[in-house]
């Protein structure tokens, strides 16, 4: 399976896991992001994800390379789904295998944080009382134009 993938199909967790199994891996940390119904008082009906697909796959691959620099024995695979997702559907599955467990946990956590920073994917929440693109509108994330060093090589 392609290790870094943006897909419109449902994600098969085991496929993602299988692509990081290795005879010298003792630990695999898997992170699965699923569609949650309630966020505070807001009820989600469904979500829509869109991506800048070719660039998003490159950025996923870049995250894998960053992980390999930090944890040289790590093997990483990431699949992110786009399109319309229902409650409990899998949006993202990340698997990282390493010889020892501490590295696996740290690397898989690193991967999800980096996805939320640099991978061009956007989520539109369809609530029972309206819809909104998550990101700008919340004001929780801004990238002042003078401060993009985290993403510029």
């Amino acid at each position: 399976m392609k290790k870094y993938k943006i897909t419109t199909e449902p994600i098969n967790n085991q496929d993602v896991i299988d692509s990081v199994v290795h005879q010298n891996a003792g630990a695999i940390s898997v992170f699965i992001g699923t569609v949650r119904e309630m966020t505070g008082q807001k009820q989600t009906k469904f979500l829509h994800y869109e991506a800048y697909v070719p660039m998003a796959e490159k950025q996923l691959e870049r995250i894998g390379m960053e992980i390999q620099e930090k944890w040289p024995s790590a093997i990483t695979a990431i699949s992110h789904r786009i399109g319309t997702l229902q409650i409990s559907d899998i949006a993202v599955a990340i698997a990282v295998s390493t010889p020892h467990r501490q590295d696996a946990f740290e690397a898989s956590r690193y991967a999800i944080e980096r996805i939320k920073e640099i991978v061009p994917i956007w989520k539109k929440e369809h609530y029972t009382d309206g819809e909104e693109w998550i990101g700008n509108q919340q004001g929780t994330k801004t990238y002042p134009a003078g401060h993009p060093e985290e993403v510029v090589k």
């Binding site: 992001g33 994800y49 869109e50 991506a51 800048y52 070719p54 660039m55 998003a56 490159k58 992110h80 949006a91 993202v92 999800i112 996805i115 939320k116 920073e117 640099i118 991978v119 061009p120 994917i121 956007w122 989520k123 539109k124 693109w133 998550i134 990101g135 700008n136 509108q137 994330k141 801004t142 990238y143 002042p144 134009a145 003078g146 993009p148 993403v151 510029v152 090589k153």
Partner: protein, 79 residues
Amino acid sequence: MINILLFANLAQQAETEKVSIEVNSALSVKEVRTLLQQKVGKLTGIENALLAVNEEYVELTGQVKDGDTVAFIPPVSGG
């Protein structure tokens, strides 16, 4: 010609995901951003967008030439 890609709420405001502009010489991403808004109208929040040329992140001063693809990437929300 320069191809410009818009996403999420930027595409929604512009009512299109793709805009082309003719250019006569190399220019900066910042200049592309100005030309884009002259064409499609003011895009709220575009100053917070990440910038990419040919699928690689660049700074506002990044150079763009004929045939390049410039993407304005509003704050991402994958995962």
